[in-house]
């Protein structure tokens, strides 16, 4: 059974997709979302196999939702749009599934059979990467706050701390726990602003206040908040280079 999520802000558009998908014996529509944020929340909570993401939605666009997903664990993504020249070009270029409104049943069936034929061939990675390239996913991060998700400005993040299979995102006011890898998070946020300081931690360059040398080329990093972190010599040169030292 393929568990599918449908996200579109227009009721008739959702209805059409829901109806045709429900006719398929192997598909179960687990949720419908009317906007980007609730789509992201449903994906987080229900972990569907496939999402149909309309691009133009209030709050978060479909592309912005996809950009905030973890590449490794994201569901298969089918973008749906009426007209989005840039995005469509990028989809073509990266062989990403998309539906152009209005589409007929044959077109939808074609997409479905393609999805059935390839459970995991890296197309999800490409979809998330393309969505990140199309949006300002570096500047904003979707974080869980209680039961809901919330966007925070990535410049407010001081440092990232990896633990087991999640990451602690520390801002000056509070911390958030994200079920993502540090590697994927850094890929989304980009290496202009965030740099690793050891295997399981990265800092926002802007929040670094001072360095104190330790033994064997290791350093102590002092953040503006007073927090002290360790900089391992393996990552020292990259950080110093970035900070112009």
């Amino acid at each position: 059974m393929m568990r599918v999520l449908v996200a579109d802000d227009e009721a008739p558009a959702r209805g059409k997709l829901q109806r045709w998908l429900s006719e398929q014996g192997d598909i179960q529509v687990v949720a419908e979302s009317e906007d980007g944020l609730s789509a992201a929340e449903s994906i987080e909570r229900l972990r569907p196999d496939v999402v149909f993401l309309d691009i133009q939605m209030p709050g978060l666009s479909g592309l912005e939702v996809a950009a905030q997903l973890e590449q490794e664990t994201a569901p298969l993504i089918v973008f749906v749009t009426a007209f989005d020249e840039h995005a469509i070009k990028a989809f073509e270029l990266n062989a990403i599934d998309y539906l152009l409104k209005p589409y007929d049943k044959d077109r939808l069936l074609k997409t479905l059979s393609r999805i059935r034929a390839r459970p995991a061939d890296g197309s999800t990675r490409a979809a998330v990467a393309t969505a990140r390239a199309q949006t300002q996913s570096r500047d904003r991060l979707l974080v869980p706050v209680g039961e809901t998700l919330q966007l925070i400005d990535s410049s407010t993040i001081e440092w990232l701390e990896a633990a087991d299979n999640y990451v602690n995102v520390h801002t000056s006011s509070r911390s958030y726990i994200l079920r993502r890898t540090l590697h994927d998070l850094l890929e989304q946020l980009g290496d202009q602003q965030f740099v690793r300081i050891h295997k399981s931690a990265a800092v926002n360059i802007a929040s670094v206040k001072a360095f104190t040398p330790l033994f064997k080329g290791d350093y102590e990093v002092q953040l503006r908040t007073g927090k002290i972190l360790r900089l391992s010599r393996r990552y020292r040169d990259v950080l110093f280079g970035r900070m112009g030292r």
Partner: protein, 370 residues
């Protein structure tokens, strides 16, 4: 050019030129050449008749010159008042001729008075024909002289005015063409069009008559768009009808997220308004309010006649006015069309209200005759 001076007030070049405008410069040049000629003829005539005191013809001509120049300069300074009659030459000339008695009555006594005075200062006597003869002869001369120069001035002003009108017409055509193109693009905004088609495609599965209605509404809207340009001015009734077509299609798409309220005075419906002027304003209300908001949005469309003005307002909740940033093509075009058609009297205003954004258009009231 007199009218142009007013209308092009915003043009810094026109302002820099000040009161000595280019056609005036040419006119004053001709004026100078004319008087040099008069002086030459006068002196030559004097010499031929055996005169030796050359200051005499110079005095005669220059007193006339000073007085005539005074009147011409005066005409140039106040000609704006009569510029409206440039399209009707007889009226224009009539308005100038009515000053002729005053010109005659000031010209002859002052010119002859000065001549007598100068002669007296030099201990001489200025001799001329008898006063009735002078009055008659000089009046005829003045009449011919005035006729010649009024003709010239009329020619100059009428030419400048026609040039200025042509420029205005060109500007109007240009901005109209631009508005038309931008509107076509906006109206056929692929997003709107394909989404509407998708809505129809979805409705078709469950409610064929409703899908059919929506399809014909989309066709009507498309038709109204394509017909635009045949008719620059329409009635508010027509304009509201087109707005309703658009609103109905959008409401079908966002039924649960938008409430529309129409408050248009029936007395206002007969007013004239540039075709599809309000369309971009309603589109913005949907685009910035409904399409970007997760909550239900309220859109209010209002139309009132306020004395000699027509006022339309479109309000939407769910969005705030961007404090900076440039206006979209739709708003810019709306503004340009208002300026071109109504000048200062046509206004588009964006206002941030407590919980809504209001776009309002004010223009002079004019009954629309089909």
């Amino acid at each position: 050019m007199a009218v142009a001076h007013l209308d092009l007030a915003a043009d810094p070049q026109a302002r820099a030129r000040g009161w000595l405008r280019r056609p005036d410069f040419v006119l004053y040049f001709l004026w100078g050449m004319f008087w040099l000629l008069m002086l030459a003829v006068g002196v030559q005539d004097y010499a031929r008749s055996g005169g030796t005191r050359y200051w005499q013809p110079i005095l005669w001509e220059s007193t006339s010159l000073v007085m005539a120049t005074f009147w011409v300069v005066l005409q140039r300074r106040v000609d704006r008042r009569y510029a409206v009659y440039l399209d009707r030459p007889l009226l224009w000339i009539g308005h100038h001729v009515k000053w002729l008695p005053l010109v005659v009555l000031t010209f002859i006594p002052i010119v002859f008075g000065v001549r007598h005075g100068v002669y007296a200062l030099l201990g001489l006597t200025y001799t001329h024909e008898s006063w009735p003869y002078v009055l008659f002869y000089e009046s005829i001369k003045l009449l011919m002289f005035t006729g010649l120069w009024m003709g010239l001035i009329f020619g100059f002003d009428a030419f400048a005015r026609s040039q200025e009108q042509q420029q205005r017409l060109l500007a109007l055509q240009k901005s109209l063409a631009e508005a038309q193109l931008a509107h076509l693009k906006a109206q056929l905004r692929p997003h709107f069009f394909f989404n509407a088609l998708n809505t129809i495609s979805a409705l078709m599965q469950v409610d064929v008559p409703r899908a059919d209605r929506l399809l014909s509404r989309l066709a009507d809207l498309l038709r109204a768009t394509l017909q635009w340009g045949d008719q620059e001015i329409t009635s508010l009734r027509e304009e509201i009808r087109t707005l309703e077509l658009y609103a109905q299609i959008m409401q079908e798409r966002f039924a649960d997220r938008v409430t529309l309220t129409w408050q248009v005075d029936s007395a206002a419906l007969a007013g004239s308004i540039p075709a599809l002027l309000l369309q971009p304003l309603l589109e913005n209300a949907f685009k910035h309010g409904v399409e970007r908001s997760r909550d239900a949005v309220r859109i209010e469309i209002e139309g009132h006649r306020e004395g000699d003005r027509l006022r339309m307002a479109i309000r939407n909740t769910g969005s705030t006015l961007a404090s900076s940033g440039s206006e979209g093509v739709g708003l810019r075009n709306c503004r340009e069309r208002l300026t071109v058609l109504y000048g200062e009297a046509g206004k588009l205003q964006l206002t941030q209200l407590t919980d809504a954004v209001e776009a309002s258009v004010t223009l002079p009231w004019q009954e629309h005759c089909a």
